[in-house]
Symmetry: C2
Subunit: 259 residues, 2 copies
């Protein structure tokens, strides 16, 4: 323990020195030479999943291998369980009315269905997003389900929730998206909301929150939101006037950020 | 790649079976036998840092070793850097007025100063929080600085920000808290806000958001919030009427949750 603090003090002194010797525009330097790649990439992932970083376009070069391993090994799937299981615990604690107005909002890609087959062909987030090639892939309607979300979806339906799916996909993909949802095992959603022509320029936060507002204005009580992007989850608190009793559940996503 | 999908399909089938064979109250089961401890604890940590789980009282038994290793090894410190560095990048992009009304809000414990010396003596979050023994330790005023936050703090002051420190500590700890802040290298904060007698029963979310509201009502523009609890960060969006352009920066904390 004492050894640890001596290291801390030494480290802090070094940092302070380097901070004051800099030109002043950037005081903080990550001690990269002291960090191995795994520590760096785990921390990068922390900053992504907490929304500390915004508007990033590609996975940092030194984390390409880390993200591939994370996505194809057991960790990604395990993390999706840790988004669904607390939701199931929470849902158990709710009393659901029989007026059909208790609602849950899901995002689509990488929340209900997985784009991993696409990203496996495109470097797991190491390439800049290409909407044309992504839409082509989406048209194939082959995205598999994310199991943890599928189980939550089925349980919510069993309990009488109305399910809304809010996606940033363009409206012209409606038929293939419905076909994909069905082939992935999802049925009887209340509404699948896609991005109409007039909403094409909107930022995800604005688009998602306006759609969630519409749902609330139709008289639904949104009891929870599951999404892989913070724009999915912030939209909820905006639309709900920040009622913090409403819960949000973040699915992991370290392959892309939607602004 | 194909091998991976066969595994997924097999796994999904098994899950579906187990889901339907249950009595219905709990459909989702984590495949614990398939997960090693590290995968489980990394996922638990993901669910904590994203606020997927709320109101947890102690670190799960199987993750005691994981949390100790995380806190005393390089990862915790590295994660604090990934809360401060995006904040420094963001701050660079702001134009700061010379009216002194641009403000930043910091939490105290495990944001500006570290309670790790206390938790090292108390099982790194494996014991239920004991306020009496914690307050005794706080009275010693020996909490060291969290270096990344210290650098951010100094840079914000250099740029002309007013700094508010909002803590859930009780008012009677004011003198020792100020002494601790100074010995940890922090000076010239605008206000240190502690929990008064009338606020003792308040939930952290309500307490923090009402204090942030007060700051806004005094004419300050809160440009960012750094905190290790989601209640620190949600308070901001509540008080600001959810202006999503305001940024929040989550510091890691896997030792305790403040409700």
């Amino acid at each position: 323990m004492y050894k640890f603090y001596y290291f801390q003090i030494l480290f802090f002194s070094l940092l302070t020195l380097s901070a004051y010797s800099s030109t002043g525009t950037r005081l903080l330097r990550l001690p990269t030479s002291r960090q191995d790649e795994v520590v760096y990439c785990e921390s990068w992932r922390f900053s992504v999943e907490t929304n500390n970083v915004e508007n990033w376009t590609t996975v940092p070069t030194r984390c390409h291998g880390f993200v591939q391993k994370y996505m194809t090994g057991p960790r990604y799937q395990s993390d999706t369980y840790f988004a669904a299981e607390p939701a199931l615990d929470y849902v158990k604690s709710l009393s659901v009315s029989n007026d059909g107005k208790d609602a849950w909002v899901f995002s689509l890609d990488d929340t209900l269905i997985s784009t991993l087959p696409y990203y496996e062909l495109h470097g797991f987030g190491s390439e800049v997003f290409n909407k044309v090639s992504y839409n082509e892939w989406a048209s194939l309607a082959v995205a598999p389900p994310i199991e943890a979300s599928w189980i939550l979806y089925k349980e919510l339906q069993r309990l009488g929730f109305s399910i809304f799916i809010v996606s940033g996909r363009d409206e012209y993909l409606r038929n293939v998206t419905e076909a994909n949802l069905i082939s992935a095992g999802y049925t009887h959603w209340k509404k699948l909301i896609l991005r109409g022509h007039s909403e094409k320029g909107k930022l995800a936060n604005d688009y998602k929150s306006s759609k969630i507002k519409d749902i609330v204005e139709e008289g639904y009580r949104i009891r929870g939101v599951s999404g892989d992007q913070w724009s999915d989850l912030f939209g909820n608190s905006i639309a709900q006037g920040n009622s913090i009793s409403q819960r949000t559940f973040k699915l992991p996503n370290v392959m892309y950020y939607i602004a």
